[in-house]
């Protein structure tokens, strides 16, 4: 009996010794391997981001030429023959504009498509976000409807003084032109410089008298902020509808039923488009008369959208402003070219089941304006 106890004690001691060694050794080995794997995730993220930001893809103009995702052989957001880290606006619209399928003949290139085109589907998850380098906030000042407070801050909410602010106020009204109603645009421009608090005021109240007797449809304020060459653009509108998309030199105008808040089989009746469109560029606002104007009928019908090819739209136009008529009401509609900010992919949150992820930030150029591009990559499974 005593002999058995001695052997049992020996065995237990032996087991304890092995367990202690294993418990100490294995976590050390695993933590080393995890460290290397995290480093690999960083390299993987940089490789993917290099591909996204520096390659125009194949075909290089896929933002305009490709209708479906399978037509894209190589994914990349860079502008063909553009500068380093200059992104193609037409490609950006294809990945973030959710209503693109409703009002154009193009498909949305969503996160799943992007992951598949990059060859990371099922292995990595990612998010991509674009935000202007200068954060421009526009508010109506207390005293007047046409007086605005513009605040410019950094990403970290630090006020930026001495920013040159150019404010363009565009108003649309309806008036008789011969026997028909026609759209007229009034444009005014002001300059200001932000103070120590990053705030500047622009006052367009002198327009209120001029517009008092007019049948006002709506207005839009466009702000260009320039801080020693770092440029951002922002806009603010009253009672407008996002109703169009600019792709290359094409203006697509369509019918998004949710925006009109209509019910019923026919979506609240046809939408009639007025032929005068104001194209906003950094230098000017040009009024273009559309070649043909057709009523836009609801989604699912034979004519859910209308395409206009407009000369000069391709290079500099930031937005197109036009007037639509629906159920007897006029409404100002805006088609943006330059995004204010967007995010694609699931955001990386601390509460999410994502084990480890890496985050990269680059400054990119979109149509002459600087943006932060944030890219986060994480593994969907660990081996």
């Amino acid at each position: 009996m005593r002999v058995s106890v001695e052997y049992l004690v020996s065995a237990l001691l032996f087991l304890a010794l092995i367990s202690i060694i294993t418990l100490i050794l294995i976590p050390n080995i695993i933590s080393y391997v995890i460290h290397v794997e995290e480093g690999q995730l960083q390299v993987e993220a940089e490789k993917i981001l290099t591909q996204i930001l520096l390659s125009p893809g194949d075909p290089p103009d896929w933002g305009v030429s490709a209708t479906y995702p399978y037509e894209i052989r190589v994914f990349g957001l860079a502008r063909y023959k553009g500068l380093l880290y200059e992104l193609d606006m037409n490609k950006l619209i294809r990945i973030y504009e959710n209503s693109i399928e409703n009002i154009t003949d193009k498909c949305l290139i969503d996160v799943d498509n992007i992951a598949r085109l990059l060859g990371i589907e099922g292995r990595y998850g990612f998010s991509l976000s674009l935000t202007p380098v200068l954060n421009v906030t526009i508010r109506i000042a207390n005293d007047s409807e046409y007086c605005f407070m513009i605040k410019v801050t950094t990403h970290e909410e630090i006020p930026v003084p001495n920013v040159n602010v150019t404010a363009i106020f565009l108003t649309a009204y309806i008036d008789h032109y011969g026997d028909e109603n026609a759209t007229f645009y009034v444009r005014d421009q002001k300059f200001a410089v932000t103070d120590y608090n990053g705030v500047a005021y622009v006052d367009f109240s002198e327009l209120s008298e001029e517009l008092a007797d007019r049948k006002l449809v709506g207005w839009s304020l466009i702000i260009y902020a320039d801080f020693y060459g770092i440029k951002s653009v922002a806009s603010y509108s009253n009672d407008t509808t996002l109703f169009g998309i600019i792709l290359s030199n094409y203006l697509y105008i369509g019918h998004v039923e949710e925006i009109l808040n209509v019910t019923g089989r026919h979506g609240g009746g046809a939408v009639h488009l007025h032929s005068a469109v104001a194209l906003v560029t950094p230098e000017s606002i040009e009024t273009v008369v559309l070649s043909r104007v057709l009523p836009i009928t609801p989604i699912g019908s034979a004519r859910p959208y209308v395409i206009f090819e407009i000369e000069g739209l391709e290079d500099k136009a930031l937005m197109a402003v036009f007037v639509i008529k629906n159920k007897g009401r006029y409404k100002l509609a805006v088609a943006y070219r330059v995004p204010l900010h967007f995010r694609v992919g699931a955001p990386l949150m601390t509460s999410s089941p994502v084990a480890r992820g890496v985050h990269l930030r680059r400054i990119v150029l979109v149509e002459g304006y600087l943006y932060y591009l944030d890219f986060t990559l994480w593994r969907l499974s660990e081996w």
Binding site: D58, R73, I120
Partner: protein
């Protein structure tokens, strides 16, 4: 039961237990080495695919219509005391860099090049041949052995068409 029988039974049990424990420890060590080898192989695959993507980015952003880019790659001669093969191939419609160990064939790491193999503008060279550039000759192939001298990633741009591959570089005058 005599003391000698008890000794024999317990000693045998302890011996078997010791052998099992040693085997278990060896298994853990083997798994650790394999995982480290796998990590090392994926690191090599990842670095080579990153080099290829970087060269493609430089070429695509370059205004030159004709361009040759060569980048030497520093890779270890062994992983876990074994030689390995670097291979360019296609997988699920994409070009990939595969690193495979000679002896442990089950250890195979790969890293994709985000270029669809149907692309006509960007081609990853999967054939054998040679390329002469000034004093240098690049012998390219879809496979590269770990012990090869002067392994390189190379790229040739001709108009809008980019061809990229791996190979070994040697000086023509040697």
């Amino acid at each position: 039961m005599s003391s000698a029988v008890a000794h024999t039974i317990c000693f045998t049990a302890l011996l078997v237990f010791s052998i099992v424990i040693v085997q278990f420890a060896q298994n853990i060590q083997q798994k650790s080495v394999e995982r480290a080898a796998m990590t090392c192989a994926s690191e090599i695959a990842l670095r080579i695919s990153q080099d290829i993507v970087s060269l493609m980015a430089i070429a695509e952003k370059s205004n030159s219509s004709k361009l040759v880019l060569i980048k030497k790659i520093n890779i270890p001669t062994h992983i876990a005391n074994q030689g390995y093969v670097i291979k360019l191939t296609t997988m699920n419609g994409f070009y990939v860099v595969v690193v495979k160990l000679d002896m442990w064939s089950w250890i195979e790491a790969w890293s994709e090049i985000p270029v669809n193999s149907s692309s006509t503008n960007i081609i990853v060279m999967l054939e054998e041949g040679s390329l002469t550039y000034e004093n240098y000759v690049i012998h390219y192939s879809s496979e590269l052995l770990s012990g090869a001298k002067d392994p390189v990633v190379w790229l040739v741009k001709d108009g809008d068409r980019i061809t990229v591959g791996i190979g070994v570089m040697e000086c023509a005058s040697q």
